[in-house]
Symmetry: C2
Subunit: 415 residues, 2 copies
């Protein structure tokens, strides 16, 4: 695995200069890369076409081929995203909580880049440009490891990024692609603690579990969401139906989509038929507990396994409960720490839900689909953290930085 | 390992109520435990004596036996520490960055407990009370796993803490001791992701490496310190000598002690003899590079290995360099991300060192020994993080918390 270690070494080396680039240099670099993506569009489309042809030959599902496909419009969007990142405020260098201690030491906390960020992801090639942009903006070097399906696209995108940086005389090793798509190469990457400061896996539950299980590099876990909506006894049923439709069907395959409903038994007779009708119109299959099945024809019986399943598909589970306590208990047992919502008109229940649900984002009377860096006003997002350390919820630029204490002394020694 | 998993399950259960205790309840609990420690002092001394006798019989070194020993004075200090923790500001519940989005969603970030904190430590029994106190103050349940040497002391301290909590009708499972001191029990603990939210290893390099290597629970790495002092060309030599004496000898076995010196060649002839003389008076052996050896009799030749060694003993390494760049390079290559200092009168070099050294705490003209929660004004400390994720440097109460987004909606759906 000398090749993988060489990538690590080069990235660490690059991070030593990337960390000191000024805000202007970084922004000019991002804009230069955006220009380069537009200029080399033809090359990118040709290389992407190789991946798409291979995928078709291998019998990949149309939905997945669509994720893999680049079009001139999608390349335009990649370029625009980089230009938007250039316009965001740079968190690097901010000083926080400066204080003077009784002995005269001045202690400040300065925000600095993490160093080298490793990103392991699956077949969407736009992640390549995006991840580079966020890492570069925050003064980090990036090691990218995309899926084998997108290898030609990723190689081409990284080449173009490096061309853009080189034209601005910026260190092109700020981004390096692990071209070896072997599993052994990822395993090596997960052990390179001396070169990589943090690993961010982006993709399905299997990929994430593998990284969490095997990495000795610190990991930020992202993106599996078994999100619930609880329809409280006092809910505005019309609002509940609208929010459920939005949270389940506005986009099916995303981590902030709703996967499970919890309905208070006192409102079940009225609410479940209306919820079912709306979901049925949208071709969503509902799997419920016995009480739900007895209320509404067409609801299939859920198994225990359903409560823990992130479908990412036209299926939703439905559980009835006799109290808000039972609802909170059920949600805290089965959720993945992502996004949970209550629909209620009861003030105490709203606060209780906010307080007692253990998740990155807890909503009252709104769709779980809002858990997103852009929707939260961060301007960009590298993923959604479902862990509690370092950062939780949508990760903007600040999540790609750390702090260091800067101490100004005048000869102080400790008594 | 059913016993270990049962501890995990009970702790998770306890965390569900501990997280909601009010500030007053938690502070009363801490004070009650302090009273109980004083009242049951006799019992604690008897139990500790068993450990001390076993250690003596096993031929443990006097310095280590001293770390293990409890005295009435030390038990008093444990109680006072808990009373001090009770007086600190509670970070739990603070709302940060509340904002209203254009669609009317109000989004706030609330500071909340982590949940269950696991602490794996070695033979100092005072860590038992301290770790409980910091976790309880921040609304976390704690699972403690001390070393086998201190098992009788730790059992006794945990029993007394639980007695104190029970008297206040507070959940005594807020603290649980893993009494099985087998290696297999720790290994199981490191895999209990469903019960433990974060693991903090406190102890020697071997213990910490084992936890980082094998844990699937997120880890906060603490406390190995290969700390440097760089004596710049323009240094006030007298200040340098005083700070070096303090940083090396004020306390030998601690992570913020200085382990390695870097001296600019243009000041070496004047500075090294004075530094050597002072360290020699304190029985510190100096191991230097060829140039240092040629300047001062008594300096022994350092091996490559010396540059990376945390001695925790009366030994220090000394490297000469021809520029501040070479000094920074050497330090960034060999340090452990803990504390580094420059002694200088040169303004540009001071800022350059602050900027370019990659460590939790970077000092100009002060002793590395100040990297400590109390010295930084946090009032308490659970350890010193040498990693970049979540928290860096001395960890006070806030490091034992996380955030969650609290969203107030009025029916919003995502377009």
């Amino acid at each position: 695995m000398d090749y993988v270690r060489e990538i690590g070494r080069k990235s660490k080396e690059a991070s030593r200069s990337v960390q000191f680039l000024g805000q202007e240099e970084k922004n000019e670099g991002l804009k230069a890369v955006a220009r380069e993506l537009r200029q080399q569009m033809g090359y990118l489309l040709v290389e992407n076409d190789k991946d798409v042809k291979n995928a078709r030959a291998a019998g990949m599902k149309p939905a997945l081929i669509d994720r893999l496909l680049l079009t001139s419009q999608r390349i335009q969007s990649m370029a625009e995203e980089l230009e938007q990142i250039a316009m965001l405020e740079d968190p690097v260098g901010k000083m926080e909580c400066v204080k003077v201690r009784p002995n005269g030491l001045q202690i400040g906390q300065r925000r600095v880049p993490l160093g080298v960020v490793g990103i392991i992801y699956e077949s969407r090639p736009n992640v390549t440009a995006d991840a580079f942009g966020l890492c570069f903006k925050t003064g980090n070097a990036a090691i990218l490891r995309g899926g084998s399906d997108a290898i030609n696209s990723n190689k081409a995108i990284v080449k173009v990024i490096r061309d853009g940086l080189a034209k601005e005389k910026l260190p092109s090793d700020a981004v390096l692609l692990l071209e070896d798509t072997d599993r052994a190469a990822v395993t090596e990457m997960m052990k390179m603690k001396e070169y990589i400061d943090v690993l961010i896996p982006r993709g399905g539950a299997g990929l994430i579990a593998n990284v969490v299980e095997n990495s000795t590099v610190p990991v930020i876990e992202t993106g599996t969401g078994n999100c619930h909506i609880y329809v409280d006894e006092s809910a505005d049923i019309q609002m509940a139906v609208d929010i459920i439709e939005n949270a389940k069907t506005q986009r099916l395959g995303v981590c902030n989509a709703c996967e499970s409903l919890v309905v208070h038994s006192r409102i079940a007779d009225k609410a479940i038929p209306l919820i079912y009708e709306r979901l049925h119109q949208k071709q969503v299959e509902v799997r419920g507990d016995e009480r739900a099945v007895s209320i509404q024809d067409g609801i299939r019986t859920a198994s225990e396994e359903d409560w823990g399943t992130e479908y990412l598909d036209t299926i939703i589970s439905l559980k009835t409960v006799d109290s808000i306590e039972e609802a909170i208990d059920h949600i805290n047992r089965h959720n993945t720490g992502h996004s949970e919502a209550i629909i209620t008109r009861d003030y105490d229940n709203a606060l209780k839900f906010h307080n007692e649900i253990d998740a990155a984002a807890v909503y009252v009377n709104a769709s779980t689909r809002f858990t997103d860096g852009h929707e939260f006003g961060f301007g960009a997002e590298i993923g959604i953290s479902t862990q509690k350390l370092h950062t939780r919820g949508p990760m903007g630029l600040e999540a790609l930085t750390t702090v260091k204490y800067i101490i100004f002394g005048s000869g102080q020694t400790r008594p």
